[in-house]
């Protein structure tokens, strides 16, 4: 049989394998393409874009935690104009699915960003709703289900590309947010974004991060991510992209069994620049040795 057992179609976009680099850990693909041929991986969720350039938070922006890291980068990015003019010409030939991750502080910013990015040449949009809504007291767009639905609808109105809505775990019931995203027109859901956390230096009595708080990622969050993927799988009908602490091919299998059609790998890249091709190789071997396909495993958790 010639069919690629790792190929998956999400919202009409063909992925050669289910491994996608997570936003914020892979830049726009240029740095890692100096280390290996990134066309090997299924896709890249590009560093989050805002309408205008953003400098981000002051350093230190990273803290080591047990089995993970905290980051407070603060969405430093060159803005949509530079993305379209300087980055896209360089990355459109990378040979893998390009997903533009977009963020904003007002519905209007989301709309404008979505419009520009839709014409840039990327294949999909991923909606980052972990940013504060400055017009509504600074609470993140992704917290209240109504807000999730509103942002999703707004972006869908302003874009012709398939839309993935990326959910934050810092909520009381993520299934409500997932349902709201689907209602708003999302073509797929990705989860989880980072978990809000803090690190303290007991000698100086100061937080390690200059921003005080940050987002936790890495192996420590996997149990939370798996549970939420499983819950969301049982809530929505649209495809799910799971992420949170994936370090090995067995982690990938766990997410697929819980209902993910594809996964994103983030912190693993920071630990090991060749993490993704290594995980891919192990995954290919597992599927081959066990004569399995993604569909055989997806959502097959026995409960």
């Amino acid at each position: 049989m010639n069919k690629n057992p790792l190929a998956v179609n999400i919202a009409g976009v063909e992925f050669k394998n289910p491994l996608i680099a997570a936003s914020g850990t892979f830049g726009y693909g240029l740095e890692y393409s100096e280390i290996y041929d990134v066309s090997k991986i299924g896709g890249i969720s590009l560093k989050g874009l805002t309408l205008l350039p953003k400098e981000g938070n002051d350093s230190p922006r990273i803290a080591e935690t047990p089995s993970g890291i905290l980051n407070s980068v603060g969405l430093q990015n060159p803005g949509t104009k530079a993305f379209v003019n300087d980055y896209m010409p360089k990355i459109k030939k990378l040979g893998t699915v390009l997903i533009a991750n977009i963020a904003g502080n007002t519905l209007d910013e989301y709309a404008q960003t979505a419009k520009i990015v839709s014409e840039s040449g990327v294949d999909m949009i991923e909606l980052n709703i972990s940013c504060p809504n400055v017009k509504q007291g600074g609470m993140a767009f992704g917290v209240e289900p109504d807000s999730v639905r509103a942002v999703t609808e707004k972006v869908k109105e302003n874009s012709s590309l398939p839309l993935i809505v990326k959910l934050t775990p810092n909520v009381s019931d993520i299934t409500k947010n997932a349902a709201a995203a689907q209602k708003g027109g999302a073509d797929a859901i990705s989860l989880i974004n980072t978990i809000s956390g803090m690190a303290v230096d007991y000698k100086t009595r100061k937080p390690i991060l200059k921003n005080v708080t940050g987002g936790l990622s890495g192996p420590a969050v996997k149990p939370v991510a798996l549970k939420m993927v499983w819950q969301v799988y049982n809530t929505v009908d649209i495809p799910i992209i799971g992420m949170g602490g994936i370090m090995s091919y067995t982690d990938v299998l766990e997410f697929i069994i819980c209902g993910a059609s594809a996964v994103q790998i983030g912190t693993a890249n920071i630990y090991n620049p060749t993490a993704m091709p290594e995980i891919l190789s192990d995954l290919e071997k597992y599927f081959k040795d066990n004569n399995l396909t993604l569909e055989d495993l997806k959502g097959t958790l026995i409960v």
């Binding site: 100096e34 981000g56 990273i62 980068v73 430093q76 920071i270």
Partner: protein, 251 residues
């Protein structure tokens, strides 16, 4: 990019300061100012260290580090034969262009950046290193082999009493270097910036910041740099760690 180093020796050379030499294949492009991003066996997040010295012929790499936290504590216990996953050479390194007369200036642990200069460039070197006290002096022997060496200690227990920059200021008009390559704590760099300005001498400095990937993708190691009239957050691991001192925005 290389990925593997094997510990040959790992010794304490000053209170809490260790020198680790490892067997490693040295890529041609390796130069002074590059760093190595080491993954400890017990931890996942890598630790970056400037490449203190290297030898392409002997295939060795040397780092000098301070035991400060959990990671460096673990590192200091590694014995000969330990194999480590280490990414190198990373960062931009010092680009001296056609400089023929070079001042190397190190403050405290910043001195660790300097020895690799002798392997990296053909030039006449004068080194200036400064420490708190005699017991903290490191790499004096190595640096004295490459040219004249001036040692300063804050308490006067060895060499000249005072700051390393006092010494640089005195010698700069006599020796007229084409370029200054430096690394050290912020107060030292601030003084050096004034000297660089006063004597119109190009000065490059190696900075550090807490890092993530080390290759420029995660944008965690941001440092404020003034370029083209605007302040930007640049990446120490990829845009640096070496920057022109006049671009550095100090606190």
């Amino acid at each position: 990019m290389e990925r593997k180093i094997t510990v040959l020796s790992n010794k304490e050379i000053a209170p809490k300061i260790f020198k680790l030499t490892a067997a490693a294949k040295i890529p041609d492009e390796t130069r002074c100012g590059n760093f190595v991003h080491i993954q400890l066996k017990e931890k996942s997040l890598r630790r970056p260290f400037c490449i203190c010295d290297f030898s392409k012929e002997l295939e060795t790499l040397t780092i000098v580090y301070e035991v400060k936290g959990e990671g460096t504590k673990l590192l200091s216990a590694y014995q000969k034969g330990t194999c480590l996953d280490a990414l190198f050479p990373l960062g931009n390194g010092f680009d001296i262009k056609d400089a023929k007369k070079i001042f190397l200036v190190g403050g405290g642990l910043g001195t660790a950046v300097l020895p690799a200069a002798f392997k990296s460039y053909e030039a006449e070197f004068t080194s200036f290193i400064g420490f708190k006290s005699k017991e903290n002096i490191i790499l004096a022997e190595e640096l004295s082999l490459g040219g004249d060496l001036f040692v300063s200690t804050e308490d006067g227990s060895f060499g000249e009493k005072g700051f390393v920059t006092d010494c640089v200021k005195r010698e700069i008009s006599l020796r007229k270097p084409d370029i200054i390559l430096a690394c050290g704590p912020e107060p030292m760099l601030k003084s050096l910036q004034k000297i660089s300005c006063q004597f119109q001498t190009k000065t490059l400095v190696s900075l550090e910041e807490r890092m993530g990937c080390g290759v420029g993708a995660c944008v965690v190691c941001a440092v404020k740099i003034n370029r083209n009239g605007q302040e930007h957050n640049l990446r120490v691991c990829k845009d640096g760690p070496v920057f022109d001192i006049n671009e550095v925005v100090f606190n």
